[in-house]
């Protein structure tokens, strides 16, 4: 019933740069109509449909909110999701440095160091998104975009690792 294009569903132009506020607004507007709670006193078939539709809206919201999945969604709309991209040696090097820094902070149970890494990573991700916007919205360079997305996914993993290490210190 909702089609597959999440950008359309949320009333957004298919671009990497989106207005997160209007994404949020559309999300709330859609859930205000489709959430199972809105149909709780209705017939079984209606409740089942509400469950499916609301699930789709949640999935779309999650996909568009996160930069890597949003970029992926755009590339798949353009039929360019399979563009191959080699990982640059410089990036491989950077990966190793990040890993070592996190491992060191984790081993010495240094929350301050982990938090500093987390901030640095946030900054790095911001720059990455900027590059991604240029590649997708301005140049239509899907090969470069694929590379940036892969890197972004790696940064997301790093972020999860830092958070896990901080969680471990808290428990």
């Amino acid at each position: 019933m909702l089609g597959q294009n999440y950008f359309e569903l949320f009333g957004l132009a298919p671009r990497f740069t989106i207005d997160l506020n209007s994404l949020e607004l559309s999300f709330r507007r859609l859930q205000a109509e489709l959430h199972p709670d809105r149909h709780a006193s209705h017939t079984e078939s209606e409740r089942r449909m509400a469950l499916q539709l609301s699930t789709t809206v949640n999935d779309g919201y999650r996909t568009l909110r996160h930069p890597a999945s949003r970029a992926q969604c755009l590339m798949s709309l353009a039929g360019k999701e399979d563009a191959n991209a080699a990982v640059s040696p410089a990036f491989l090097m950077a990966q190793m440095e990040w890993r070592e820094a996190i491992e060191e902070a984790r081993a010495s149970r240094d929350a301050t160091a982990l938090e500093a890494l987390s901030r640095r990573l946030k900054h790095r991700v911001g720059m990455q998104e900027h590059d991604l916007a240029a590649a997708l919205d301005e140049r239509g360079d899907f090969a470069a975009a694929t590379q940036r997305v892969n890197e972004l996914r790696f940064y997301e993993k790093l972020r999860a690792e830092i958070d896990d290490a901080l969680d471990a210190l808290d428990s």
Partner: protein, 625 residues
Amino acid sequence: MALLQIAEPGQSAAPHQHRLAVGIDLGTTHSLVATVRSGAAEVLPDDTGRALLPSVVRYAPDGAVEVGWEARDGAAKDPHNTIVSVKRFMGRGIADIADAATMPYQFIEAPGMVKLKTVAGELSPVEVSAEILKVLRSRAEESLGGELSGAVITVPAYFDDAQRQATKDAARLAGLSVLRLLNEPTAAAIAYGLDNASEGIYCVYDLGGGTFDFSILRLTRGVFEVLATSGDSALGGDDFDRAIYNWLTETLKLPALGPEDTRQLLTEARLAKERLTDMAATEISCVLTTGQVVSAILGRETFIELTKSLLAKTFGPVRRALRDASLQVEEVQGVVLVGGATRMPHLRLAVTEFFFREPLTNLDPDKVVALGAAIQANALAGNRGGDELLLLDVIPLSLGIETMGGLSEKIIPRNSTIPSARAQDFTTFKDGQTAMSFHVVQGERELVSECRSLARFDLRGIPPMVAGAARIRVTFQVDADGLLSVSAREQTTGVESHIEVKPSYGLSDTEIAGMLTAGISNAEDDKRMRALREAQVDARRLLDATETAMAEDGHELLSKPEWDAVWIKIYELAELLILGDANSLESLRQATEALNAATGTFASRRMDASIRKALSGKQIGSIEV
């Protein structure tokens, strides 16, 4: 049975009929029931005016079941048969209950969930909880003067799938129709949000009797969006009592205590804790069954020292939730305190220091959860005034599947907004492999052995292929109650397997049916009457829902023949219901099914209309910007 009134087509009385719905806070130490009357949420007291019902159930030798104050007062005299804090055992195996050895109960290890040996036989925590719910249900029905159409039951946000399923089973056993399982902190936020019309980021710090929950929500004009939730399902106010208890036995060098003395001393410890809220020091004194006199002075400073590590333990989940929501403490606009244990002054101070702001305490921390649940129940029942509220909750713990090497592959990560569905493809390991076993787990750890096992199921009939050639898609679906169902499908052949995640920790339908009839001599008759009653409730609800929908937009969305076709099925079902024939179970079910089928097209047109409405930007008042 009351006669059902049927309005003329197009003149349905249903849309404005008020449905009796309640919110129930099924707590570790006490439980409450609340409802919305004349637009305001209120807690329903018992006939002596007491709002709280101690969550204590005593099974007497003569077969009587006492629930509440009476049972609590008798707890020390009959500790084996008086079940206190049963919530701690819901959906739990014996290995999960840390202090099982020091509790006065005779636990029996049973598949999935422990049982308790009492004078009334071996009981599941689900049955014990159902006794508490039954009392609240009849309190509500007497007070509201009618049968309840449904209830919202609250659960700790950090409850896993097994604990949620157990709670739902208990409600069913108590004859309640569950509109929704609602997370306790979310319920509290609703009560606060609607009262104060708040906007922005709010946190709920909920220290109950046996559980700790922490949730972060964004409030936007009637929309409550949970951003992250965390907690500790084995940390609560009871642990603070136990800290005093341990201090007493150590400083007074008390010998090992029997169950009665343990219970008595724990009660004294709880009372001392409560007195220390207003006093700098308090005296604890009682006489044990051995005649030994226990007497001690406990100062607040000592108490703070004794419970320092317990209190500190709550801030781990707080920091974790903030990280998950990518928020800094400074971005939080308010902190709501929930649960009786949050009355402790040193706790309030610790929360104030952490968030740099005084917590909100203007609603009674004991009642706020039940009030929020009542507001949600009112909205879900379709009553007026409920259409401004929208709740977007999350799952507290990641759901995953076991892969090679005993590792958990997360399919739905924690803090995903529900309802949610995610799929993951797997493949075969050996050439010619025709079956695959799936193990569904919940938890954050990488090793499956450190996660909670939820269910195991097999997919058979995969056509033999070389290793790695089969494409098996496993789909996890979590509904709005936070309950999981899993299906697996081989993509090339369509071989399918589906499971409601229930068997390993919940109770099977047969077990529930057994409990429903237990102790009644004419079990077969009773079972049939019960099935009939359930079918009648279903039929009535469907009639009600259909008539409401027809009155709302039947004319707009249906052609004349379609409209007539639905009404024929309405009349057929209504007639059977009015006859109320005890032998009509099958025909009643058939007529219900027929009406359901007849409304299929109508339902999808209504959903289409909802989508159009949402997409056209025609905003409803509550979310207008």
